[in-house]
Symmetry: C2
Subunit: 302 residues, 2 copies
Amino acid sequence: MKIALVGIGKIAVDQHVPSLAASDDWELAATVSRAGTVDGVPSYKDLDTMLAENADVEVVSLCLPPVPRYDYAKACLEAGRHVMLEKPPGATLAEVYDLQALAADKGLTLFATWHSRMAKGVQAAKAALAGKTIETAHIDWKENVRQWHPGQDWVFEPGGMGVFDPGINALSILTEVLPAPVFLREAVVYTPENRQTPIKANLTFSGGVTAEFDWLKEGTQMWEMTFRTTDGDTVHLLEGGNECVVNDQQMPVAELGEYPALYARMAELVKAGESDVDLAPMVHVSDAMTLGRRVTAPAFEW
Amino acid sequence: MKIALVGIGKIAVDQHVPSLAASDDWELAATVSRAGTVDGVPSYKDLDTMLAENADVEVVSLCLPPVPRYDYAKACLEAGRHVMLEKPPGATLAEVYDLQALAADKGLTLFATWHSRMAKGVQAAKAALAGKTIETAHIDWKENVRQWHPGQDWVFEPGGMGVFDPGINALSILTEVLPAPVFLREAVVYTPENRQTPIKANLTFSGGVTAEFDWLKEGTQMWEMTFRTTDGDTVHLLEGGNECVVNDQQMPVAELGEYPALYARMAELVKAGESDVDLAPMVHVSDAMTLGRRVTAPAFEW
């Protein structure tokens, strides 16, 4: 199937382009971006022109920041193309409901991706927790924003989500592996005095689940979660969900990496004529932004 | 049907108690509250005791602030009682989804009420806008928090919602009368430097819809919205939705007031074995708290 990629920035170059190149399902037929291009692929600056000149592009994958994404997604759906959305699927919940309704109305596939859900150890953790009761669970998602988003000011602008940009990856895994849903009880969110979105957050959920998100972690980066069940089992997810250890035993994990797995899933969805839009991770972030106690943190500069 | 009222504060005394007294459907059989009581009605300080001693109370209506409400609602549902929730239905979206699942599982009615949707002119406005296209719509929801919530510090604590506590009433009307859904494009929220929740907010939605919420309005209080359609019609909702004027003509309105209408609806839902949980107004507030640009406002004291 021919696919177009919109928004040729860091995540597109690092993940989307190589995943498409390695897949038999897909042919990258066009790109749309203000600046970025991909060698050997026709590039456009304007979405409407790309759509008009490439009637055979069935699928458009959007790797833009969340705020501008809605208008692009809507234009693609209205032009009869299936759409794949980078996480988070939008800047607001209501706009994603709107896209969902539009896709259903047009009989098109909408896939709101959560790449961390495809991390290699996630299904092993889910299987280990199935049918169990969680006694406690803790997430540490601590990374250095200067290393992973150098100079990307949009992450600190309204709608950029701040530390919830990585944190929502942890929440996408949490909502996939937990045997029963939880909800936020309390949160503290720390926002630099010169920025709009949080740089650190501590979350307390129902069911004994807690999370610490920190975007100022230097040295070893930390994307881990630990679940203890009432049966006495301990399940660790390490390396952003890519390793799973159950009661000190390393579990076998999936072969396909996160983005190749997302594109394989998109191919399945299109063939089956289905959509996949689960907003649970985004609901938890919205809840944290609504219920969270706000604390002013020191100014942040790159 | 026998009903119990939990949380005997201002809204219970002003609205719930008289509405129940005036209705043939309901008998107020018990109250639960730390401080308030209702003359001639058995009062409890503890929910579990009330539930244990009143097996014939089929319905519990919760008028507590949003943060403690979940635990009460859950206990009532687990005790096999139908539940009616004051607005907003919870402190988070995820906790309301949880209650919804529990009610469905138990075969009980859950009614997330929006009293302003029952304002007398709302259905007239909805009828006037049905099948039309909105060109622009504007909401002015401007009241004096010192007059309506004197000393109620919880409204400025996390989860108290601040100016969105009245604002969500406007949004509950908006989402009822609009012929097609909208979503938030941009927001500015103003929070007093010594408080946690906004005291003022300006919202810009898709579809030409804008809103101004202000909690510092002195003098004449203002709960109004104006819709202009592409056909050239103008629909005004005045007095919090209780008056409807279409093209300068006053429309006939409903007879029943907001709370009597809510209790009549609850009686219908219980008889029909149905629930009514529409979270659209709360989604817009969560979206505003997530996407809104934050501005610090002067300190607020009562």
